[in-house]
Symmetry: C2
Subunit: 444 residues, 2 copies
Amino acid sequence: MIELGAEIEGLAPAAIRAIQNRRLAAQWEYLWEKSPFYREKLAAAGLGPDSVRRVEDLTRVPFTVKDEIRMSLEANPPLGAHLAADPGDIVQIQASGGTTGRPSYVGLTARDRGMWAEITRRTFWAHGFRPADRVLQALGMSRCWVGGVPVIQGLEALGAACIPAGAEPGTTWLLHTISDLSPNGLVATPNFALYLGNQAKDVLGVDARQLSIERIYVGGEPGGGIPEFRRTAQELWGAKMHEVMGGTDLSPVLWAECEDQSGMHFVSHEFVYWEMIDQAGNPVEITQGATGELVYSHLYREATPVLRFRHSDIVEVLDTECRCGRTSPKIRCFGRTDDMMIIKGVNVFPTALQDIALGFRPATTGSVRIIKHEPEYAWAGPLHVRVERGEGRSADDDHQLRSRMEQAISDMCRVRARVEVVSFGTYPSPGRQKVRIIERVYET
Amino acid sequence: MIELGAEIEGLAPAAIRAIQNRRLAAQWEYLWEKSPFYREKLAAAGLGPDSVRRVEDLTRVPFTVKDEIRMSLEANPPLGAHLAADPGDIVQIQASGGTTGRPSYVGLTARDRGMWAEITRRTFWAHGFRPADRVLQALGMSRCWVGGVPVIQGLEALGAACIPAGAEPGTTWLLHTISDLSPNGLVATPNFALYLGNQAKDVLGVDARQLSIERIYVGGEPGGGIPEFRRTAQELWGAKMHEVMGGTDLSPVLWAECEDQSGMHFVSHEFVYWEMIDQAGNPVEITQGATGELVYSHLYREATPVLRFRHSDIVEVLDTECRCGRTSPKIRCFGRTDDMMIIKGVNVFPTALQDIALGFRPATTGSVRIIKHEPEYAWAGPLHVRVERGEGRSADDDHQLRSRMEQAISDMCRVRARVEVVSFGTYPSPGRQKVRIIERVYET
């Protein structure tokens, strides 16, 4: 059994449930007292201050959806009508992401900030990071992104040595810094981690695996959990890659992989409660192989709490046991409801296409895009896929690549695709921007 | 009397001295025990473990110059031969500046990091920031710069609400964030603060003074202390501008202005000891009107301490008393020895030229450069100065502008100058990069 980051991670599910019930009762009371937003919403659903005592009671509570949060922020800027703390108690403001459009904001009280740091600390611990480690933080540090300063605060809580670089300095600067400072840990988006590793030879004259990195913490975009992607990145760096998952409205991280690398454990038991629902919104029992959308409720959040928040991540429960001693089920995320497409009734997620494209290297670079011609998420097909030709490959081979890849998509995703091959270098190198696999070409 | 950020700031000089003596004795012992670099250097100067007990004894200690630190870093990368802590105790690594060349690094133990945060907290306090404030951090957040994450850690220590944006998102994003979140405080480089304010009308359709900013904390480059610059920036924002000064090898800040805005107080008494020396290296008595170069010694530093470090800042003691209750003398920095030029025996600092150029607005934009044709810092003149023509101004007026400005430089700096007027828009807008007033056009 591996040493846990927090005792609660190894408790029997019933014991965790008891802690969650106590926390939920207090949080529920807090919301009724402090949040006009939830008081109104819950009263409209026929619920009262005594309606929820245990997490099982949450099934009676209406979902909160992203549009409600958006409207709450618009109605009561800057932190939303769902701000439940005194504005004077806010000590940190983070912003939802994105590199386009206006950000939306979340506030943190001192307790909330401590909670985020504690969860992030556990995440690092689960991956195998320890206080003696030296870690280069190469996620975007600016723009109030939760992947930036809050992850630094989590590393602080761990007590490891932090190199607060950000992704902003670019590949050359970061690779030299790795060479200079010999960190054994790296924190980055998965695509940026792969790109950095691929540039090592050009920039430093050595392969990435000759550098000091032993463990890579990836998050912020899908990729780290795609088997072919992970295999490639791990070989490139001679390092283990661990994936995390969280959400701006919730915590920079909520889920983290243990050293077994066999799916993400929930590491936030006493702070957040999670459920799984089907497309109709009905509860899904958490058993091995079950799939569904994640729904989260804060159990211990002062500033901008959410309740039964549909987070749109679609996950599969890989296992309910693990040799690491954590009693949380392990999941992998295979997409978001926002990104899901239904082709002739079959669900398709972009990450599956990415996995396939990576399998065709070096005929492709692994870069792939799904071209959406209509706003609808369901259509009759075929799927329009663009894949980038591998470096030095001839366009004469495109025909063969196209038909092989169309066959693979048919075999693995059970949908018909039309594959288009574009020149090497069509897609920009990953860096500060998240890689968006779906390209929407319709007018909005 | 204004409420102080720390009791020590208001103690009588003799009481501060007693604390410094105790700290120095412990630090001296620590250096002999932990630092082969200083043991060797001090022994070579005929000093022993008992040679220094009080700060007055420091005059017997040889200076440490920047080249020694550079060589120490090269000889023993990454943190230098002067690293005195166990490498396993390093919890944070920051880098010296610059946007060009390779960075040099400084390490911090947990205690060092706490010390930096405490000094930075006092700095904010001195400016008038309080826990109820909401502060946008718009200094460069990435590249391990001491102006980034360490300033966030100081804001955390203050307990004010921090918006960790960085300068990286750019003017439009930052101005929208100010409009969205209504911070009353802004942290930025002086030139970037001015530029942001000037863009408000274009980006938001309102003047900067209609926005929420009440106090601006500036550092990272000269400017905030130049009278004409400060007057302009304060009018633009309808806010008070306070300057800070520190150093990567020492602390993000060491000096901070109180609400009286009449010079910078030393706010780091029990952590760092400062002296003033003349060009020959002899001590300069700290009296009103005295000028000299600053020399610093750490009194409480574990990881990468410095001893009698010539920091190259040239300062003037403005006053030795202040109505704020701080007993530290107040200084202003008018340049660095690195930037000083001697024209026919007269010392000239770039900030003086900047002040003059600003006085000629709107005929100029205020942007000015000194063109150095030779590596020597002393020459017979004239000074070659380029100034940027004001927006919408005609080149027909250049002749008059040139002669008026040459006269002003002669009057104020007592040196002969040749002024060249360049087109509006020649110099890039300030942003993440520091503004470098001296342009070196010789081959190196």
